[in-house]
């Protein structure tokens, strides 16, 4: 476990690092400017050599700082995790220094954060989408992205016909199963596309 001495000696090294309230593991706030230095120090001096997770949080459009990046490091000596919160200062086009040169594991995690939240990691060797396809225009894990997809002025006709929502097609749309967003429960159940008729409505010819 991490003791108080460890925390205090760590905080002495860095001017932009502060401790924050935590329930499970030691949690630090770190300014953007010192992220690389802090990660390097933790890896080389403090045995936190396993970056287990790196992700982002969207605090909502009204928040003063909308995006923050959260990393979890694990030390096999302390047998404990360490959480690092960092705020992205720019709300419109969030930027963050990449730590993938220190932890290669961060490479894909940062690509995912870019893909889902649109945070640009500077000096990242290969910053492109990882889970969504390359041409996808939105950042789906942002809080203003609706679950059904974004309304567009030019919706796909087949999608609008089935779902009554003016959205771009989801990747599976037109696939083997369709579901409609309204109607009775028996009508809105996902069903095979070529069986989308009920007793009341005729089979489309």
């Amino acid at each position: 476990m991490i003791d108080l001495d460890f925390t205090e000696s760590l905080l002495k090294h860095f001017t932009h690092v502060t401790k924050r309230h935590h329930d499970d593991c030691l949690t630090l706030d770190c300014g953007e400017s010192e992220v690389n230095k802090l990660f390097l120090h933790l890896r080389d001096e403090e045995t936190f050599d396993l970056l287990v997770d790196l992700t982002a949080i969207d605090h909502g459009e009204t928040a003063e700082f909308r995006f923050s990046v959260v990393s979890h490091l694990y030390s096999r000596i302390h047998r404990d995790y360490l959480r690092i919160h960092s705020i992205c200062e720019d709300n419109e086009s969030p930027k963050f220094p990449s730590v993938s040169s220190i932890f290669p594991a961060a490479n894909w995690h940062e690509r995912e954060a870019f893909d889902m939240f649109g945070i640009h990691f500077s000096d990242h060797p290969n910053l492109k989408r990882i889970l969504m396809w390359d041409e996808y225009p939105y950042y789906p894990l942002r809080k203003d992205f609706p679950l059904a997809g974004i309304e567009t002025p030019l919706p796909a006709a087949d999608v609008a016909e089935v779902t009554n929502a003016s959205v771009d097609p989801a990747p599976m749309m037109g696939g083997p199963f369709v579901a409609s967003s309204d109607g009775t429960m028996s009508e809105s159940e996902p069903r095979a596309k070529d069986e989308s008729w009920t007793e009341e409505s005729e089979k489309p010819s």
Binding site: D24, V52, I130
Partner: protein, 413 residues
């Protein structure tokens, strides 16, 4: 009958070969493997450049099974998300359920009764055995050995029968609830588990006889896909893959949860970190899991299978909902508003068959998580491919992918 001889000019074969190898630098072949290919065990796609049979570049392309689980989690209550965790690593759903439940329980600070903890350890280890049986069998098949697969699948089938009896479902079990498990173990079920565990070592021995000293298997796996200790850590390996590289990180030992500290077991580690070591580590982990299961069953505590403190989270028993006003209201509140979880953030990792499955949950209070991040071991274990694969032959790809034992459902989420 007259015969006619036609002379065909084939050119100088030797000269053509020399010309081809002189141009080899510029003539790399691009090869796509996947997204739907038996080698990739799901929907992984590899974009590769080949120089003859040697791979010079390998870029994994993910996302073909992306379902937006994290977005879905933000739009439903904590209890409703339990079945979604089944679909992460669909070869060990029981272990995923447990990892998710413990993460939420850490936010609320509920203490679970002994019996519940024992059941959870038991199902986690059974899930590990089931996942490793598949992993080993399929790995053998990737290396060209069909028979071991038949042995491991027979045993896995028996396990699924046990799961069905316990949970009502064979694959997507959704057995764990936040604050307990769905139901107590059925009568006589533990005896049937014991019976299964007594017979499993025989099947494992058979598999070992077929593979472990098999010359062809050794030739195909030894020294292939080596990952050094440093690389394994740097690229965020966890689970059997990390231990095969010689690092003894097992969260069951290092950060015990759900009462793992009570049980005696060894953590096998490898020396070289090649495909063969990863196979050996998995074989030994199955044996160690059997040891844990024996200890759990020998000392199976009486009591409840859910926490009585978890009144605002865990739905009360059905017969009480139908007969008692208070339980009816309690159930109504859980269903309509979700379990009331205090504000805070938590990160919890469990040692799953594929590696450390982590849940990072940010709660702002109420019944729905504000942010839920799934740290999938398969996702992290794959990112090394870009570095590890170049220099290997094309035929090694099947073995390397098989030995990493990943699941795309978890990788793409």
């Amino acid at each position: 009958m007259s015969t006619k001889t036609v002379e065909i000019n084939v050119g100088d074969i030797g000269a053509r070969g020399a010309e081809a190898s002189a141009n080899a630098d510029s003539e790399k072949m691009a090869l796509n493997v996947g997204p739907s290919h038996p080698t990739t065990h799901g929907v992984l796609r590899l974009m590769m450049d080949l120089d003859g049979d040697v791979i010079t570049r390998c870029e994994p392309v993910l996302g073909y099974l992306h379902r937006g689980d994290e977005k879905i989690a933000e739009n439903m209550t904590y209890n409703q998300f339990v079945p979604y965790t089944d679909r992460l690593d669909y070869l060990a759903p029981l272990a995923n359920n447990v990892a998710y439940a413990i993460a939420v329980e850490k936010l609320t600070g509920i203490e679970l009764p002994e019996r519940c903890l024992s059941i959870r350890v038991l199902v986690c280890e059974l899930a590990r055995i089931s996942s490793h049986l598949l992993g080993m069998g399929v790995f053998g098949m990737d290396a060209g050995a069909w028979t071991p697969f038949m042995y491991t699948f027979t045993e896995r089938e028996k396990l699924y029968t046990l799961f069905e009896e316990l949970t009502g479902a064979r694959f997507t079990t959704s057995y764990t609830r936040i604050g307990g498990v769905a139901r107590d173990v059925p009568d006589g079920w533990l005896d049937r588990v014991t019976h299964f565990c007594e017979n499993l070592p025989k099947a494992i021995d058979e598999v070992e006889k077929l593979l472990t000293r098999n010359r062809i298997f050794l030739d195909r796996t030894e020294g292939i896909g080596e990952v050094s200790k440093e690389d394994a850590l740097a690229y965020g390996f966890t689970g059997p893959n990390l231990r095969a590289s010689g690092i003894d990180l097992d969260l069951r030992k290092d950060k015990p949860y759900s009462g793992y500290e009570k049980y005696e077991f060894d953590v096998p580690i490898g020396t070289r970190g090649d495909c063969y070591d990863r196979y050996l580590v998995r074989i030994e982990e199955v044996r160690q899991s059997l040891r844990i299961i024996k200890q759990v069953i020998d000392d199976f505590p009486p009591g409840l299978w859910y926490s009585e403190d978890a009144k605002k989270i865990f739905a009360p028993p059905k017969e009480k909902i139908l007969t008692s006003m208070e339980e009816l209201i309690q159930n109504f509140m859980i269903v309509t508003e979700g379990p009331q979880i205090p504000a805070g953030e938590v990160y919890f990792e469990a040692e799953n068959p594929k590696g450390a499955l982590g849940f990072y949950i940010v709660s702002k209070g109420g019944g729905v998580p504000y942010r839920l991040k799934i740290r999938a071991p398969s996702f992290c274990n794959l990112s090394i491919l870009e570095k590890m694969v170049p220099g290997h032959m094309l035929s090694d790809i099947t073995v390397i992918l098989g030995s990493l034992d990943f699941v795309m459902g978890e990788c793409d989420r």
